[in-house]
Symmetry: C2
Subunit: 84 residues, 2 copies
């Protein structure tokens, strides 16, 4: 595997896994006041677009990374909607 | 321009612009308690990796989108460090 591919995988894993601590924090504390609803709404829309882009390109890493992040983003958005 | 390219641009713009409402909110309110430090730390690291990946691929859209998001991510991280 060439080094840019490895860096690409590290990048994809990092920006996906990054949402786990936020998800856990928001789930546990039920406190989402300081989180921007607009950010997660637009971010989730963007992730859906990235997923469609990945499908068009038949790129499994793009599809996978974005679907996982999208699922977490939607959950954070639900928590935000519930707890304000 | 082919449709997947257009979708890719919409995706890149959306996931970048998404951080503007969070940045404005955190800057104005100075309240960052509900935001996960770990998320932004890992996310910024990931964005740096995406930027390096973009440089290796000589892809201007990847470099640009990620450098802009990285700058916003670092600023949110600084606000979080200051306001807890």
């Amino acid at each position: 595997m060439k080094w840019p591919t490895i860096v690409g995988y590290i990048a994809a894993i990092s920006t996906t896994v990054a949402f786990i601590p936020q998800l856990i924090k928001s789930h546990k504390t039920r406190q989402t006041k300081d989180i921007s609803f607009g950010m997660y709404l637009l971010f989730c829309f963007g992730l859906l677009m990235w997923t469609i882009y990945g499908i068009a390109l038949k790129s499994a890493p793009i599809i996978l990374a974005n679907i996982v992040t999208l699922a977490m983003g939607i959950y954070i958005l639900i928590l935000k909607s519930k707890h304000g």
